[in-house]
């Protein structure tokens, strides 16, 4: 955040590289189908949580429709491949561009008259509701509540070499690593980091010193929407089923928020820490059923009331105390 000197930048890059290596090597330690599935899940949530953290932590835009953005891309790609027989990867790209456009559109509408963080929240929450009702209601197209099975993602030589599960994990992990590096460049290396931080601090002052606040917000939204779209489409193929339950507020947004806030919103590795911790927690409270929602509710209350700065800031303080 505070202008890092050249030395610290190198350290951060090293940390990121180490994290990437660890992510890729995880399946060597955690073997077996179950673990591989959970790790893949975690990688997707690194992307969702990072995008939420970037939008909220750096541009003050509280997007409460991460699931809908992911779902738009998943449904687009899934429908195009299953109904029109189109090729997978190009439809994933199309779906992600669609998600990016919708995210940018929502951001644009919310910022037309500078209605602030509350309005973005209301608008995106309404949009999430629109999405869920739309895909449930258009039964002839989407299969309604039960959803539909898209044709499996052709994994090519990678699949025949490593098997489907491992290939999916590697794809998701590479996407997560890519997201981390994009966020690192955006937040810490480029002038965008400072400009976003200014916008987050004081919008009127930002505008008055020459920052096109709306453009910054819309651009960041488009980029986040694109990342969410990529992850969302792949998540659909990974689950093998595209249905409203996978792309509901309860199954994606809540986890992404908890992960991003716990780790530290607006930081690069915060969402990663959060995803690791809460993927583990989630697996362990899954048996609770609907009441796990209450657990997350209580968690959000406690996190925000007492732990708003997040893990990264806390770690920074601890390490400063130690060294």
């Amino acid at each position: 955040m505070a202008a890092p000197d050249e030395h610290r930048i190198d350290v951060r890059l090293l940390v990121l590289a180490a994290i990437s290596a660890i992510l890729l090597a995880l399946p060597l330690v955690f073997t077996g189908r179950y673990y591989l599935r959970v790790l893949t899940q975690m990688s997707f949530f690194i992307v969702f949580a990072s995008a939420f953290g970037l939008l909220f932590g750096r541009t003050n835009q509280l997007f409460l429709c991460i699931a809908a953005l992911a779902g738009i891309s998943a449904y687009t790609s899934g429908l195009l491949t299953s109904r029109l027989g189109m090729e997978h990867w190009s439809t994933i790209l199309l779906g992600s561009i669609f998600s990016a456009g919708v995210a940018a559109g929502l951001s644009y509408v919310a910022n037309v008259r500078r209605m602030g963080v509350v309005f973005v929240a209301i608008l995106t929450l309404a949009f999430q509701l629109i999405f869920e009702n739309l895909v449930t209601g258009l039964v002839w197209l989407t299969g309604g509540d039960t959803g539909f099975r898209p044709p499996p993602l052709p994994l090519g030589p990678l699949g025949s070499l490593l098997g489907e599960q491992m290939s999916f994990y590697l794809i998701a992990a590479v996407l997560a690593i890519g997201t981390l590096f994009v966020n690192y460049w955006l937040m810490e290396r480029s002038k965008w980091g400072l400009i976003m931080e200014a916008v987050r601090n004081e919008e009127v002052a930002s505008e008055v010193i020459g920052i096109n606040v709306r453009r910054v917000k819309v651009t960041v939204s488009a980029l986040s929407g694109f990342m969410i779209g990529l992850a969302g489409a792949l998540y659909g193929y990974f689950n093998g089923l595209i249905s409203p339950i996978y792309f509901s507020f309860a199954s994606i947004d809540i986890l992404s928020q908890v992960m991003a806030v716990f780790g530290g919103r607006g930081t690069v590795i915060g969402p990663l820490i959060g995803s690791a911790v809460f993927t583990y927690v989630n697996e362990n409270i899954r048996y609770l059923g609907p009441i796990s929602l209450s657990v997350y509710g209580a968690l959000i209350v406690v996190l925000f009331a007492a732990f708003r700065e997040g893990m990264v800031a806390t770690l920074r303080r601890w390490t400063r105390l130690v060294f």
Binding site: M1, L194, S206, V208, I209, G210, I211, N212
Partner: protein, 284 residues
């Protein structure tokens, strides 16, 4: 506190009638003839044309017109609620006027958003400072530079350090702005504005809260910015002592209208100005 304030106004008005005024006359005389000729011939940098601004039917600006010459220091004074800050908001684009125009370098900028006006060369500070509180002093200035094009982060950082040096903020460069006091925050805002390399600087009560010695220093600082950087300054101020010393021209605003305009000495003697301030003193 309010009573003391109006006392201060009276005293400064008297000051204006006496020593202050004569010193300003001397200053004008000592100007070289060539420069004053050039000044007279110089184009207008900015013009406010018949601007009205209503808030829910109440006029904050009621037909204000004036122009700003390139390179001058123009002070805007007037009692609280006279519409001074509203005027700045209209010029910098934070508000749209209900009626009227703002012209900058011959171009109508009335409908331009604030960030475009910034890029044209209009910078401002706020009466209640609005720095980027959770960023360092240095980053506040750097972002002022980067927002207006201005090359790479590292180049901007070096230039920003020079500005901080000049304003005596060098040793605070790494401090988060929220930890500074109000005066320091105002200086950070000024530094951020200077980083934009503006043509005109709109300062909103830059000196309020300063003691006598600090006002002297601030006056010198603004004089230097005006002379060395060639930046035109439009300046809202309550401390008339400083206005008398620094301003070349003064506009007096009351109830959203210009009630007097001229050299500081002339304005200080104008009956309507004294009335406006006295009226304010009595009202409290």
């Amino acid at each position: 506190m309010k009573a003391a304030g109006s006392d201060g106004v009276l005293r400064s008005l008297e000051l204006g009638r006496g020593n202050g005024a004569s010193r300003i006359e001397q200053n004008t005389k000592s100007d070289q003839p060539l420069t004053s000729l050039l000044r007279m011939a110089d184009e207008r940098l900015m013009e406010v044309r018949d601007v009205y601004k209503y808030f829910g039917g109440l006029p904050a600006l009621n037909g204000v017109s004036f122009s700003v010459r390139r390179g001058e220091i123009l002070a805007i004074i007037g009692p609280n609620g006279a519409g001074k800050t509203t005027l700045f908001n209209v010029i910098s684009g934070v508000f749209q006027p209900t009626k009227g125009k703002v012209i900058f370098e011959g171009k109508d900028i009335t409908r331009l958003p604030p960030y475009k006006r910034a890029k044209l060369g209009i910078a401002r500070t706020f009466q209640i400072p609005r720095p980027f509180a959770e960023m360092t002093v240095l980053d506040n200035v750097v972002v002022g530079m980067l927002a207006n094009g201005g090359g790479s982060v590292s180049v901007a950082r070096m230039k920003a350090l020079e500005i901080l040096e000049e304003l005596g903020l060098r040793d605070k460069a790494g401090t988060e702005v929220r930890k500074l006091n109000v005066q320091e925050k105002k200086s950070v805002e000024l530094a951020r504005a200077l980083a934009m390399e503006p043509k005109v600087l709109l300062l909103d009560e830059y000196m309020s809260g300063l003691n006598t010695g600090e006002v002297e220093r601030a006056v010198e600082e603004l004089k230097r910015i005006n002379k060395e950087r060639g930046i035109t300054i439009v300046w809202i101020e309550h401390i008339l002592r400083a206005v008398m010393k620094l301003a070349e021209r003064v506009i007096v605003l009351n109830f959203g209208q210009i009630i007097a305009e001229g050299k500081p000495s002339e304005v200080a003697n104008s009956a309507s100005v004294i009335e406006a301030y006295l009226g304010r003193g009595m009202a409290h």
